[in-house]
């Protein structure tokens, strides 16, 4: 490397393969100093003047802008702002033909100058060495600097290279014929260019900076050498005049003997190339704070009266440039943007100058003849000799013609710099470069399509997956629905239990009734709510309710136990109740014990026992369906009622009502509050009657509220008036009959429910046990009851069938 630097310092250059020597034609335009054009009538500033994304527009139509004011702000990566080239009014923001061979319209800001040319506030920096790397990069970015050599690569990206830069190469070669913009710029502003180079040196810290200038620009070389004298890291290297030595890769080879790998960038080998014009713009941006709003443009050609270089504001129409320099067009005049080798013929001259425009060539037909008709390739291989990239142009041409894009890629089409040397030497006048350009676009399009196809495929697959997921979710929802219904049932049960609990403490008749009603209403509401929107708060409420219920149940149990003790007569009853309760709590599996206990007691005890049995059974049949529960308790009541007096009848009625209600509620747990009312009632006649009435009323209400089955309410009507013995017996009989029927119906209906069936079986046995006892005591009544029961059963059946 030391050796290489020594060689470079000695002035050694390494020629690249190929190259041509077209006539320079530079003296036409490089004899005068750069002139400044008068302000044009309007400026057409395209939003995109570089490689990369558009900036975001920050001005609007009709707005007054000052010279140097930003028109866009950078948004995405590689976006560079544009600035107002002069002060004036934005008359329009619209699509205008672009500076491109296609002249496809693109968004432009159209400014009508006000003639003041008044600058916005600038922020010049006197000592850039004090600024940090990022600050300098930001200045270069915000001032909208992009490569002015031709490609328009954003300079801030190049200057912010992540890779270590060994050689900074300044491209001052300007190898293309006619163009002298860089030449005169160097002559006039060598110091400014060197200052720009020094800013780049600060940013990139290269070992060596080499300025490559062709030997046909002796004045520029002298000026640059004089300006760079103070900086021994800058070498002004003279290179032989050969086209295309100004190509980036060719210049690197020429100055450092390094080759940029295929598909790579110069930074890969530690080299960075900047154009002199760009470096002067960097200098202006930093030291004067001026954004990139003007550039030097060579206006030349035989049809121009005053060929030369001009400072043109970006956005100046080509027509204005030509008019100012004196333009007398020939028939079928061509106006070329760029040089004769790499430039393109403009479809219209009403196109604005952009950051990359270095030359406007208006030749007559003698100096730049129209291309003749394409002839057949004679395989002379002159193109291969001329190619500076060591490609095989004729090979590429055939592949391009036959659209063999894979072959083109194999033959490194993308290493072609489109310099036009091959077409220049071609004796058959084949527009080789055009073929390559089309092929390149085709290949890029194919690649883009491939990428798009991949994305489409990916999106399609993801969509398929999503649809499958949704399908699955839907199916799961259907499966889960019964489960949620079940839980709703449970919620209903819990709600009912809660209502009962609330009922319980209200020993006062009216209050309890009211409370019960409220509780029921609440329970209903809750049930509805849970059905409509089952959310967490509901669950929490339920949990709280369950806890409350459990607590109250405990309290109530203790209270009833203690309250029963002091009373004499009632004590026995209470004892029976207590026993029954105890049994019930233990899920009373042994019923015979219960009955023997009850037998030893007096009449009331017998009643209590009956009630207890009823309860016990109910408890035993906690699980099965309502009707099963219903019939068992009813049968128990039936056994008890004929043996007793009014109280017994009342008690029976209460028990029935209770049983019904329990059945309606379909509750798993025993009906505690009701049972309390029931057990309290036998102690006192009147109270019992009242209690019975309440119980009935409640039962009815409950039945109405639920209104699930007709037979329930009917049975209520039946049990509403058991005021005396006979009626009680009759009612009992009816109840029995109903119970039987219900049992049958249940058996018939509950084919799928194994549990309820198995539970129903013992009930039937119990019933059978109770019946002989009852018939032995009262035959007549039984007969009557049986008749009524039959009638009712029939009615029920009819109703059942109706339903």
């Amino acid at each position: 490397m030391e050796k290489l630097i020594a060689q470079i310092k000695q002035g050694k250059v390494w020629p690249f393969p190929g190259g041509i020597h077209p006539p320079g034609q530079k003296t036409i335009s490089n004899t005068q100093a750069i002139t400044r054009l008068p302000l044009p009538d309007k400026l057409i500033v395209p939003l995109k003047q570089h490689i990369g994304a558009n900036g975001q527009l920050i001005v609007e139509k009709g707005q007054l802008v000052l010279k140097g004011q930003a028109l866009t702000k950078p948004v995405a990566n590689w976006s560079v702002p544009i600035h107002a080239p002069t002060s004036g009014t934005i008359t329009d923001i619209c699509q205008m033909p672009s500076a491109h061979p296609s002249a496809l319209p693109e968004l432009c800001v159209i400014i009508e100058p006000d003639g003041q040319d008044s600058w916005c506030v600038l922020a010049p920096v006197t000592t850039p060495s004090l600024l940090s790397h990022d600050q300098l990069i930001n200045i270069i970015h915000d001032r909208g600097i992009a490569g002015m050599g031709g490609a328009g690569f954003p300079t801030y990206i190049k200057a912010d290279s992540r890779k270590a830069i060994e050689y900074l190469i300044v491209n001052a070669v300007e190898c293309e014929p006619y163009i002298t913009a860089d030449d005169v710029l160097m002559r006039e502003h060598a110091a400014g260019i060197i200052a720009g180079i020094e800013i780049m040196q600060q940013l990139l810290t290269p070992t060596l900076t080499i300025v490559g200038i062709e030997d046909n620009k002796p004045e520029a070389i002298a000026a640059m050498q004089a300006a760079a004298e103070h900086n021994d890291k800058i070498i002004i290297q003279t290179v032989p005049t050969i086209y295309p030595s100004g190509g980036e890769k060719q210049l690197i080879k020429l100055l450092t003997n390094k080759e940029v790998p295929s598909g790579g960038i110069p930074a890969d080998i530690g080299v960075l190339v900047q154009n002199v014009g760009t470096l002067f713009a960097v200098n202006q941006a930093v030291f004067e704070g001026k954004p990139l709003i003007e550039r030097v443009i060579t206006v030349t050609g035989n049809t121009i009266h005053k060929p030369g270089n001009v400072w043109a504001l970006l956005g100046t129409e080509i027509k204005h440039l030509l008019d100012c320099q004196g333009f007398s067009p020939v028939p079928q005049q061509r106006v070329v943007m760029g040089g004769p080798m790499m430039g393109f013929t403009l479809p219209t001259v009403r196109i604005g100058v952009v950051k990359t425009t270095n030359c406007i060539l208006a030749p007559d037909h003698d100096e730049l003849a129209d291309p003749g008709p394409e002839k057949a390739c004679i395989r002379c291989s002159a193109c291969a000799d001329a190619c500076p990239a060591s490609l095989l142009p004729q090979q590429l041409q055939w592949f391009a013609k036959s659209k063999e894009y894979d072959k083109l890629k194999e033959h490194n089409l993308f290493d072609c710099i489109e310099c036009g040397a091959c077409a220049y030497v071609c004796p058959s006048e084949i527009p080789l470069v055009q073929y390559y350009r089309v092929a390149k676009v085709e290949i890029k399009e194919q690649q883009a399509e491939q990428v798009k196809a991949e994305r489409a495929k990916e999106r399609f697959e993801l969509r398929k997956q999503r649809l499958e997921r949704e399908q699955e979710a839907r199916q799961n929802r259907h499966k889960r629905k019964p489960a949620t219904e079940k839980s709703a049932d449970e919620k209903q049960k819990i709600a009912d239990a809660l209502a009962r609990v609330k009922n319980k403490p209200a020993k006062d008749d009216d209050k309890s009734a009211v409370a019960a009603a409220i509780a029921r209403a609440k329970a209903k509401k809750q049930h509805q709510d849970t059905e409509l929107e089952p959310d967490n708060s509901e669950v929490a409420l339920e949990r709280a309710a369950r806890k409350e219920q459990a607590r109250k149940y405990k309290e109530q149990k203790a209270a009833s136990n203690t309250a029963a003790v002091p009373d004499d007569k009632k004590s026995a009853v209470a004892a029976a109740i207590a026993r029954a309760k105890a049994k019930k709590a233990a899920a009373s599996e042994n019923e015979s014990d219960n009955t023997t206990d009850a037998a030893t007691d007096d009449k009331k005890a017998a009643v209590a026992a009956a009630i207890a049995r009823a309860k016990a059974k109910k408890a035993a049949q906690a699980e099965p369906a309502a009707s099963v529960e219903n019939d068992s308790s009813e049968s128990e009541v039936a056994t008890a009622s004929p043996a007793d007096d009014k109280k017994a009848a009342v008690a029976a009625a209460i028990a029935r009502a209770k049983a019904k209600k329990a059945a309606q509620a379909a509750s798993v747990e025993n009906d505690n509050s009701e049972s309390e009312v029931a057990t309290a009632s036998p102690a006192d006649d009147k109270k019992a009657a009242v209690a019975a009435a309440i119980a009935r009323a409640k039962a009815k209400k409950a039945a109405q509220a639920a209104s699930v089955e007709n037979d329930n309410s009917e049975s209520e009507v039946a049990t509403a008036s058991p005021a005396d013995d006979k009626k009680a017996a009759v009612a009992a009989a009816i109840a029995r009959a109903k119970a039987k029927k219900a049992a049958k119906a249940e058996q018939a209906a509950s084919v799928e429910n194994d549990n309820s069936e198995s539970e129903a079986a013992p009930t039937a046995i119990n019933e059978a046990e109770g019946k002989p006892e009852q018939t032995a005591q009262d035959k007549k009544k039984a007969a009557v009851a049986a008749a009524i029961a039959r009638a009712k059963a029939k009615k029920l059946q009819q109703e059942g069938s109706d339903q």
């Binding site: 296609s102 496809l104 693109e106 055009q434 676009v441 399009e445 489409a456 495929k457 999106r459 399609f460």
Partner: protein, 184 residues
């Protein structure tokens, strides 16, 4: 005795090779038919279903199972040619007299006519349409494959298939243009 040795030698060789082959069959098993993957990469992935299959991959599987290779109108002749090369069959013209060089299109929803029915959203195979019920829908042009599947379900016919606009990046020189010359 010589016969015996020969039999042992050949038998053992057969056993060794059998084991190697068996191992290779397990070790280097190919999960799916690799030709399907190759065909799938050639297909344009518009997922348009014009081939009669519900997507490009099913058609790739169809081709692998012996279906015709000329059922892909969005791919055009280029795709048919590539498929012919891959499958080792003769290239045929596109079935149904389709254009050899299909014009690339993207869907465009005339937004003031859109009633927000979401039918096109459901039809889009690549989720390139955004919108919600009773809200205006629009097409993500970058994701649209131009498959036409959204046009049919639209109840108000507010979807147009517009040719993709040429940009400076996709513009091509006209090489076969007839030169204009002035006759004196």
């Amino acid at each position: 005795m010589t016969l015996f040795y020969a039999m042992i030698a050949l038998g053992s060789l057969a056993l060794i090779f059998g084991l190697i082959l068996g191992f290779a069959a397990v070790r280097f098993r190919v999960q799916s038919n690799p030709i399907v993957e190759q065909i799938d990469t050639i297909l344009p992935q518009t997922q348009c279903g014009q081939c009669g299959y519900p997507g490009c991959r099913p058609y790739a599987e169809g081709i692998a199972n012996g279906d015709e290779i000329n059922k892909c109108p969005p791919g055009g002749d280029a795709t048919v040619k590539k498929l012919a090369d891959l499958m080792g069959v003769d290239a045929k013209p596109l079935a149904g007299g389709e254009q050899a060089e299909p014009i690339k299109t993207v869907a465009y929803i005339r937004e003031d006519e859109c009633i927000g029915c979401t039918k096109c959203i459901q039809a889009c195979p690549v989720d390139a349409i955004v919108g919600a019920t009773r809200q205006m829908h629009t097409v993500l042009i970058d994701e649209c494959t131009g498959c036409d599947l959204c046009v049919e379900p639209c109840p108000v016919d507010c979807i147009d298939m517009l040719p993709v606009e040429t940009t400076k990046q996709t513009w091509k020189w006209q090489l076969d243009a007839i030169p204009v010359t002035q006759i004196d």
